[in-house]
């Protein structure tokens, strides 16, 4: 499935040196507190980056046995090709990478630490996402930023028409033609290249989606259904105890998470859960994630994942040899509204994923109930969320819907449209 030219997500997991976790957290918090003006890490110069974050993932143990130590996870969403993105990281952020990763195991010693060694380190520690989603696919960062600038100028021109009284008596067509002429002048004056938005064929997407569903149904029925139903019954007995534990954990967790939220129109979420033990759970999870991955790539590629319209990028990554599941997402609006959408619009697929992890609200037949138990689901989600130390967005003022609309506005300037289409186009301004 993997196409290196289309790859847009990087996950690098580096184990933290013994005794260095606190120092590393302090460094990252300092960067994270002031991402816009961060000295030494020039985020705005990273021209390939859409979103970027660093998270300290705590170690964990099970039944008193240490399973994994703490690690530092870097996650980026970038414009392909991947080699260019990595090159930019190791050359433009060299000093800051050094300051951060000297607290990680295996970081090259000073004498051998050229760009090549750093690049190799990142590559060696890179992990594949099980499932990846983009809300505004096929748009490069420059395109997103430039289309937003185009909108700004068109809106200002439209304001000028209104304040000078010229809208009175004009038809939609007249307004459109005026704006088109305005944009033509502007385009000649700037050196913007409009990048095409590419889309695969619909029949291909549909065929693949159907194939995937069929495949999943088959595999699930053959291998997993009976053991899963038995396991579910056993898990259900723990339901109330899990809910109480999550209620307490949420209380402990809430303030340090909220401290990093709601400064902008966008937010981030990093969420870490332990897998339920056993091969059936593992196989089921991978199957569900790869199915959602296929659908995300070929079907849900018009701005919505399921029915959720606010996700810029999201991914699931299995870590610690499949024993824990990480979820990263960059989304619009508040946590409460995002999680509300999970419950109202995507409860089944999300239950199918997370019911394989410990403490998730009780499910029925894998995908039913679970996330539909609104309060318990949200409590569980908060309890399992971890603090994102550093988070950067290249276009923090844009919602997914804005980005999609801005592209339509730009395309409309070069399209031939009838009167209805012109009116629809004007509504996007």
């Amino acid at each position: 499935m993997k196409d290196p030219r289309a790859e847009r997500d990087l996950t690098v997991i580096a184990p933290i040196r013994d005794g260095h976790e606190a120092k590393l957290r302090a460094i990252l918090d300092t960067i994270g507190d002031d991402v816009r003006n961060s000295e030494g890490l020039p985020f705005h110069e990273l021209s390939t980056v859409h979103f970027m974050r660093w998270v300290v993932v705590p170690g964990f143990d099970r039944d008193g046995i240490a399973m994994a130590g703490p690690s530092l996870v870097l996650s980026t969403n970038f414009d392909p090709p991947r080699a260019r993105h990595l090159h930019e990281l190791v050359t433009r952020a060299a000093d800051k990478l050094d300051e951060i990763y000297q607290h990680c195991e295996g970081w090259p010693p000073p004498e051998g630490r050229g760009p090549d060694a750093v690049l190799r380190y990142l590559e060696d520690h890179a992990a594949d996402a099980e499932c990846f989603y983009v809300g505004h696919p096929w748009r490069r960062r420059d395109q997103i930023v430039e289309e937003a600038a185009l909108r700004r100028d068109l809106e200002a021109e439209l304001d000028r028409l209104a304040t000078t009284g010229r809208l009175v008596g004009w038809s939609s067509r007249q307004v459109y033609e005026h704006l088109r002429a305005f944009a033509d002048d502007r385009r000649a004056a700037s050196k913007v290249s409009y990048l095409p938005a590419r889309r695969p064929w619909l029949w291909l997407r549909l065929a693949l989606a159907l194939l995937a569903w069929g495949l999943l149904a088959l595999v699930l029925v053959i291998f997993c259904v009976v053991p899963l139903l038995i396991k579910e019954k056993l898990d259900a007995r723990r339901g109330d105890a899990d809910a109480d534990a999550a209620h307490e954990a949420r209380k402990q967790n809430y303030l340090q998470l909220a401290d990093r939220e709601d400064y902008l129109v966008q937010n981030q979420l990093t969420h870490l859960v332990e897998m339920k033990p056993g091969l059936v759970r593992h196989a089921t999870l991978r199957m569900v994630l790869s199915l959602i991955g296929i659908l995300a790539r070929y079907y849900y590629n018009r701005g919505r994942l399921g029915d959720i319209p606010t996700i810029h990028f999201a991914r699931w990554v299995l870590i610690d040899h499949g024993q824990r599941l990480l979820f990263f997402s960059n989304y619009d609006g508040s946590w409460e509204s995002y999680l509300g959408d999970f419950v109202d619009k995507a409860a089944k697929p999300l239950s199918a994923i997370w019911s394989n992890t410990i403490g998730f609200p009780v499910t029925k037949a894998l995908a039913w109930a679970g996330a539909k138990d609104e309060e318990r689901f949200k409590t569980w989600a908060r309890a399992q969320q971890i603090r994102t130390q550093v988070w950067y967005s290249a276009y923090p003022d844009l919602a997914v819907r804005n980005i999609l609309d801005n592209t339509e506005v730009r395309r409309g300037l070069v399209a031939r449209m009838n009167d209805d289409e012109v009116e629809e186009w004007l509504r996007k301004l």
Partner: protein, 482 residues
């Protein structure tokens, strides 16, 4: 919905009256904030307090007064509610309204910063509770206040929060208010339908709109005063209280300036007064209450209550593009109904019903123009007198209901697919949490093209506030018995 099938057992006599009614027949009201000094004396006072229930009374026994009571988290702690019950109360109540995060969620910065509040701000007197007094007239209210104030063991905090009754059911900006409210199944109606939500959306201990019983405070041990022996929460609700100052003259002068600058009179010739047209577009209703969805061109000259309190309209079918009622207008943000929240109108309505609040606000301060005549009000100069709304609302989950509505709908710059700006009437127009490269603005959808009203200011500022728990009547008795 499954939730609505199980209902029918709401015990009205156990519930405080405010849940069922805003006591609109009692036109005088005053809210007294208090702190508990002497625990034993305060409990005796509480035990003797006659709290008005939601139970139905025959029409000939109309009461001339009503008393309700609510407590902050600090107050419940002071009254020594046990640890288990305290821990089960919601995060929002426990943390209070003025945390750094809530300031961002609620838009409380700049002139609305809690530091400059009149009450409830950091370092100000700790509030333990609020006594809500309602009476048929001013004399009765004075008598009721006098009786309440003799309580031992209680310090009454300043300022006493007086309300005022404006002519024509209007709020201070001059618009007919309080029209759209959700109805609780089992409290306000026995019939499911439009604008009817499960009782658990407001009352703890009853199934909510998801068909679930949310976590509610239970005590360790048992008391014969409480339902099921330990259910402190059942029949209780969370009360949000905010004192909101309205800059009436400022709003109207902005509306008039904007109308002139954007040639609104030429684009909407049917509306007699362009300034009032802009203000109505901000609200989504004409000053007399008629909804723009039904009356897009001009304010209908009628006294027919079916027109003036018409709440039957939908957006997806009746006005999907906001050409009548702008996408970012106040009533559309406060409840988007069947529009925007999902493609399918039925699903959108179901989503909207997870975010309803029961509003119980009253105006305070004198009206800027005594008879609230729109023509006069919309041209009146500022008199420097503070006025506004004592905003009270009830809900079962402050985060999912009140705070969500405030943050995602009212103050959300991306609401409805828009790009920048908040609710034009009550929103936070500061750029702190908004898009920084687009000016805060209010967009009026129109033909041939939208009108963008930039330079919008904040016309409502927060002057005080706190989160309270409004216990059931058995729970009040239980607190008195501790």
């Amino acid at each position: 919905m499954a939730a609505q099938a199980v209902v029918g057992d709401v015990v009205l006599d156990e519930i405080q009256g405010l849940v069922r009614t805003g006591f609109k027949a009692l036109t005088s009201a005053r809210y007294l904030l208090f702190a508990v000094d002497d625990l034993q004396a305060a409990r005796r006072w509480l035990g003797g307090l006659s709290v008005t229930s939601a139970g139905h009374r025959p029409a000939d026994e109309r009461p001339t007064r009503a008393v309700n009571i609510a407590f902050t988290y600090a107050g419940l702690k002071k009254l020594q509610l046990d640890q288990r019950a305290l821990g089960d109360l919601s995060e929002e109540l426990r943390e209070g309204m003025i945390t750094e995060h809530r300031k961002r969620i609620l838009g409380d910065h700049g002139a609305s910063d809690p530091k400059s509040w009149l009450w409830g701000g950091p370092g100000m007197a700790e509030i333990h509770g609020a006594l809500l007094l309602f009476a048929a007239d001013a004399d009765e209210l004075e008598a009721l206040t006098g009786e309440a104030r003799v309580a031992d063991g209680i310090t009454w905090l300043e300022p006493a929060l007086d309300t005022s009754w404006l002519p024509g059911r209007k709020e201070q900006f001059g618009f007919h208010d309080g029209i759209a409210q959700p109805n609780l199944l089992g409290v306000h109606t026995e019939q499911p339908g439009f604008d009817v939500v499960a009782p658990g959306e407001v009352l703890l201990g009853y199934p909510n709109q998801y068909g679930k019983l949310p976590r509610a405070p239970r005590i360790d041990g048992r008391s014969e005063l409480l339902p099921r022996g330990d259910d402190f929460g059942r029949g209780g609700s969370y009360l949000v209280f905010r004192q909101l100052e309205q800059k009436v003259a400022d709003l109207w002068s902005w509306a008039r300036e904007t109308a002139e600058r954007l040639h609104v009179g030429d684009l909407f010739p049917a509306a007699a007064d362009p300034g009032i047209c802009v203000a109505a577009k901000m609200v989504g209703r004409w000053p007399n209450g008629a909804p723009l969805v039904r009356w897009p061109d001009a304010e209908p000259d009628t006294g027919d209550p079916d027109v003036l309190t018409d709440n039957s309209f939908r957006y997806a079918a009746d006005d999907p593009h906001g050409l009548a009622c702008p996408l970012g207008s106040h009533i559309r943000r406060a409840n988007p109904r069947d529009w925007f929240l999902a493609d399918d109108p039925g699903e959108a309505l179901a989503v909207a019903d997870h975010h309803r609040i029961l509003r119980r606000g009253r105006a305070y301060g004198p009206p800027l123009v005594a008879d609230m005549d729109t023509a006069l009000l919309s041209r009146a100069a500022d008199d420097g007198v503070p006025r506004g709304l004592m905003f009270l609302c009830l809900n079962a989950n402050i985060g999912r209901q009140f705070e969500f509505v405030q943050h995602t709908w009212m103050n959300g710059p991306k609401f409805g697919g828009l790009h920048a700006g908040a609710d034009p009437l009550v929103g936070d127009q500061q750029p702190e949490t908004s898009a920084r490269d687009l000016p805060p603005s209010f967009v009026i959808q129109a033909k041939p093209a939208r009108l963008r009203c930039t330079n919008i200011r904040r016309f409502v500022t927060t002057r005080g506030g706190a989160y309270f728990f409004l216990p059931s009547i058995p729970a009040v008795r239980y607190l008195a018995s501790l």
